[in-house]
Amino acid sequence: MLLFDIVFNGNDTMYAEACEAVDAAIAKYGEEKAIGFPDTAYTLAAYYAETGDKITNLKEAKAGLEHIKTMMTRERRLDSGFKSGVATALSAEILEATKYIEGDPYEGYSEGAMTDAQIRELGVPLVTGDIPGIAVIIHAAPTVQEAVDLVKSYQSQGNFVCLVGDIIDQLKEANYKMGFNVRVYPIGKDIACAAHAVSVAARTAMIFGNITPGDKKSLQEYTFNRFRAFVNAFGPLDEKTVACGAGAIYYGFPVITNDMEYTPSVPKSLIKLADVSKWNTASLEARDIKIKITNIDIPVSFATAFEGEIIRRGDMQVEFDGSRIDSVELVQTKEPSEIEDHKIEVIGPELDEFEVGSKNGIAYVVEVAGKKMQSDFESVFERKFHSWLNCIEGVMHTGQRDMIRIRVSKEAFEAGFRAKHFGEVLYAKIKNEFDAVVDKCQVKVYTDQAMASKIRHEIAVPTFDKRDERLGSLTDESVDVYYTCILCQAFSPSHVCVVTPERLGLCGAVSWLDAKATNELEPAGACQIITKEGVIDERLGAYESVNEAVRKYSQGALERVTLYSIMEDPMTSCGCFECICGIEPFSNGVCIANREYAGMTPLGMTFPELASMTGGGVQTPGFMGHGKHFIASKKFMAAEGGIERIVWMPKELKETVAERLNATAKELYGIDNFTDMIGDETIAEDPETLFAFLSEKGHPALGLDPMM
């Protein structure tokens, strides 16, 4: 059969199934019955992105199917093939939505639809290339081992893997760890589940790319040029799968299959390759994905995909716990003569000598030297340790400085992982990422308890104190330059962050020092110097030089931003912000929600809904994305009165920022325990209850001028 005919037939079948499901649902629940997916502000996102119309109930689903029918043209041209491919994906999305009417249909088996919050979480790593690509693997591999090997190959490169069909059972059979946090995401069994992968692409385009829903052409250009996904489809193929494949190819995602008979080949788009062991290389090449190779000499995998891995007590070989036993991590600048490059020393016993499951102390000091090294960079490097050590398969790291906790799994230990390998990883990553300023590097790993204590108290703590003093003196007023950050522009082409000492990037990942270091490391890179000049309004934090930079780096999309206002030209966001704040008119205040928070806010919107108000480089007065750390800043919406406007945030977030926020409130307004005055979900999820609470507590926001 001709390729186009296969696509047309597959499209017809999927469409018929969707129609049948919608009709059956209408018969059962009536037209007005709501449909959709959990925790998304984009309803049926693929359909919404393509058409600009939201499907929220069965009646609209029915109308949607009518519209899809018009896309199903049947000319012998690729245009018809593509349209039918998209029509297949949209039909599948509607079909999937009907399955969600009575709750999560995948509960206990697989993950199903992805939430907006998860997509936003993927934002930063996708932008930075930490997630180089997104693999969508469909159907069962020839053998369980081949399934495991293929998934593992992508995962160990940091790729995000989505699974559709029987491969999920194969991985279950092999006891393979799956889940969003390890970047192996089983969607569901039916081929219609592929729609959830399309939904991720569509939402990425709307969230980060500011693609207007319904702007088909821009959507396709965005996914084609920026969303680095590809499909691996195991044979035997069938019409529906090929029809979905046509949709994938339309969006720019090549399909690799081992079914050598069913379809012809299409260069760089539909690639037939019988040897599954070559799929990884073939797929990455087909999607033009380059893997940054960090060759680290350790006996376990090293990849960003393992960053979210959790090691439970029972799986743990050994633990280092800074909260109980003196531990610390530190970067120190030294003279070149004091350093022997790539010297890794373990001072004290190796892991073999620790009792299984025991709690211990550890100190590791990374000593660096370089002509362009500055002591300000020490903390920048240090903040990376968390992510680097977490990338080791079988190692979990939390905290920072002298409050670290590290677990090494039994599996990693059995594979040969030892304390010296911490040194190897730190050495390799420092040299890899900071080679512009670090010429020489050596690592000392102290497992000797007495030595670790000594390092903590005699060397590290005084260093931290000195640094804090320096950081405390770093204010927006005390420096002459700010920095742009356009790290996100690969994904969010018109967004520019302005990073100041008191306002870190909204993703939470780029502080002023980070930006400074990035600028030193890559003078033509994402962080460019803005010399603080041409004050327009100090209260708002409006500067001519800032506006000029924003204009230039947004390619004219943005004219002006202020540093301290959320009402007047607020700073834009790419979409990967940690938190979003929005005005709460009853109390003259603002509510803040963080990405992890899944519940309702007194604004009547969830985090995904709030988040969808902004992002993609768009200015929405009254809404602003920001980093967690910014909440305690004296500059947080300083133009509108500052932190005393904060009336609500989720409990967990409140606890995280309490210490610093209370200190700032004390300093600015003389208020003690300010966070006690701030509402959370246990107190109120609606404005009336919140208002009553705030009145009772005498929250200062109530006495302020209205914001609008």
Partner: protein, 630 residues
């Protein structure tokens, strides 16, 4: 980047009309006026039934006088005229090829001409059976040139390049007795056959027309192409611009025109030298701009990115800008009108070849030994002429488009390699293209070539056909004045992908190409033959089975008929927008438009309705797909 928009034929015509106003001011003649004077054309001539081969006539065939004085009927007369027309074209192309052989023979390490593409020379040496082991490349080059020159007059055997064709095609040529022998012999034989009292049988005459055409396409032209590549480099993708707006008012403008790159290459070389640029500044100009017209333009655009001022029917326009210091010509397609026209302006009309000598021109005889000096003298002459401009008359239409050119077979192969997958595919093949066609992503290809002809609204047929074809996922390979029409319109800008169907658009994006591929000058149609042969070999299809057709919607010259004959004889159905002078004979006409199919698996289709011509090509392509089951 400004928004991309094609330049329309209407806009081009408006620009021409503005230039003609300048012409009227200075009393210049124009082809537009001469067309009026020459129409209606002689019907006997147009239908090919006027015989002036001996002095018993001229004889012309009417109902009342169905035979000439010698008794030759209309079929014999039309057939003979058709063969002579072909022989003229074949001789012209092939003689161009021969000139290049001579230039290669003159090449030396420290001379005016050097070997630029050594790898190609070595490949040719192997094909020609020239020993290369341990030899100086110039020794090899000279011997290859000699063997090449022998192709023109070798007493025995057939053309060496025929071996490049697929077996099946070679078998057809053998079976039909149209394998070309020595190139000159086919021309002589054609003239002999058409002499008074020789052949009058249409089949024999047309068979020889195919053979003479093949001696051009798989002989003289192919050598012209290949040896030019050896001397001046095999073209690779390069960015340039097209249309009159490439001329720069503040600069000395030198326009090269004709076909043979030997002269224009040297002019470009010298115009780019610091010495000449300094001299131009001394003379009051800001710099020097070399641009081109016709196929010389295609040659230097493909290899150096020299901008294209225009195609055949725009040659007078360059002078009408009032800003052309010198129009320097070599051979073929040069209007004798340029002589008198240049006298209306300060423009120097410089002829350089003994082959093309014209009144009212400065003749600077150009040859390989003195090429450098000649070129320098011409550039200097142009610079010194800058001061003679009449600023009142200067008007350069602000009209140009970006174009990516230089798609030799080698470059196409490189682009195709770019979409292969190292885990799956071999490189160095045409398979990615074949796969695109097999899967239906591309429906097929059209090789569009040829001239402008006032009988067709100039450029309109080229451009409208191309737009129609690319919208139908049909990729174009083009050459000659057709290529320039595409470039002027903007169809060689990569942004033209947005005018394509979804399939071709995707191919353009993935392979990083414009939808219309510039393969070179008119001799470079030989590149298209090599391309077709490579596709046939890689796909396992016969050339005639490939969803590929040829098209010359605005053709006018003898060369075009020679080309048409070798394209058809290679198995590629060919679509024309202008009738050959053959409609007077139902037999000849019938052969060309149908009978040839039995011989070579392809024939001509002529359709004046350009819209319909496009539909017919698409139908044919779909018909070929169906036959292949794809």
């Amino acid at each position: 980047m400004s928004e991309f928009k094609l330049t329309t034929v209407e806009e081009m015509e408006a620009a021409t009309n503005r230039l003609l106003e300048t012409g009227a001011k200075v009393g210049a003649d124009s082809w537009q006026m001469r067309v009026k004077n020459q129409t209606p054309h002689c019907k006997f001539g147009e239908e090919g039934m006027c015989c002036r081969i001996c002095t018993m006539g001229p004889c012309r065939i009417t109902k009342k006088a169905p035979r000439g004085i010698c008794g030759c009927d209309v079929h014999g007369i039309v057939g003979r005229n058709f063969l002579r027309f072909t022989a003229g074209g074949s001789a012209t192309h092939s003689d161009h090829g021969r000139e290049i052989c001579h230039t290669l023979h003159e090449a030396s390490a420290d001379g005016n001409y050097k070997v630029k593409d050594e790898a190609k020379l070595m490949k040719l040496a192997a094909e020609f059976g020239v020993e290369t082991e341990g030899r100086d490349i110039y020794d090899v080059a000279h011997e290859v040139a000699e063997v090449g020159l022998l192709e023109y007059g070798k007493p025995f055997g057939t053309q060496v390049f025929l071996k490049r064709a697929p077996e099946h095609t070679q078998e057809i040529w053998k079976r039909e007795e149209i394998e070309p022998r020595a190139i000159d012999r086919e021309v002589s034989c054609s003239l002999h056959m058409t002499h008074m009292g020789c052949s009058s049988k249409p089949e024999a005459l047309i068979r020889q027309a195919l053979r003479s055409g093949l001696s051009d396409g798989w002989g003289g032209s192919m050598m012209g192409t290949e040896f030019s590549d050896v001397l001046f480099g095999t073209p690779h993708e390069i960015e340039t611009e097209a249309n009159l707006g490439v001329m720069v008012a503040e600069n000395v403008n030198i326009v090269v025109h004709g076909h043979d790159p030997s002269l224009s290459e040297m002019i470009c070389e010298y115009a780019d030298s610091p010495e000449m640029i300094a001299y131009a500044k001394e003379m009051g100009a800001k710099g020097i701009t070399v641009s081109g017209v016709c196929c010389t333009s295609n040659e230097v655009a493909m290899r150096r990115g020299i901008p294209m001022a225009g195609n055949f029917l725009q040659q007078e326009n360059v002078v009408l800008t009032g800003a052309c210091e010198a129009i320097v010509v070599d051979v073929q397609c040069i209007f004798p009108a340029l002589g008198p026209l240049s006298k209306c302006f300060h423009t120097k009309f410089v002829t350089t070849s003994p082959i093309a000598q014209m009144p009212d021109s400065d003749f600077i005889r150009f040859n390989a030994h003195t090429a450098g000096e000649n070129a320098k003298a011409i550039v200097k002459m142009a610079i010194e002429n800058f001061k003679n401009r009449d600023p009142e008359l200067v008007h350069i239409p602000d009209m140009k488009q970006k174009a990516y050119v230089g798609f030799s077979v080698e470059e196409i192969e490189r682009k195709l390699d770019g979409v292969t997958n190292s885990q799956v595919d071999e490189t160095g093949t045409m398979m990615p293209l074949v796969d695109c066609v097999k899967s239906g992503v591309l429906r097929g290809a059209v090789a569009m070539v040829g001239c402008n002809n006032p009988k067709v609204r100039p450029d309109a047929a080229h451009i409208s056909l191309m737009k129609k074809l690319i919208a139908n996922d049909i990729i174009l390979v083009v050459s000659g004045c057709s290529a320039q029409a595409a470039a002027k319109a903007g169809l060689m800008d990569k942004r033209a992908k947005d005018l394509c169907g979804a399939g071709l658009k995707r191919v353009c994006e993935l392979a990083d190409i414009p939808p219309v591929l510039h393969m070179g000058s008119c001799v470079d149609i030989s590149r298209m033959m090599v391309l077709a042969a490579r596709i046939a070999k890689d796909s396992g299809w016969n050339i005639s089975q490939i969803p590929l057709v040829g098209c010359a919607p605005e053709w006018m010259s003898e060369k075009a008929v020679s080309i048409g004959n070798y394209v058809v004889a290679t198995g590629i159905d060919t679509y024309l927008g202008v009738e050959p002078y053959a409609t007077g004979s139902s037999e000849v006409d019938g052969l060309l438009k149908g009978g040839l199919k039995d011989w070579v698996e392809a024939c001509y289709t002529v359709e004046h309705d350009i819209e319909k011509l496009g539909d017919l090509m698409i139908e044919k392509i779909e018909e070929k797909r169906e036959a292949l089951g794809i």
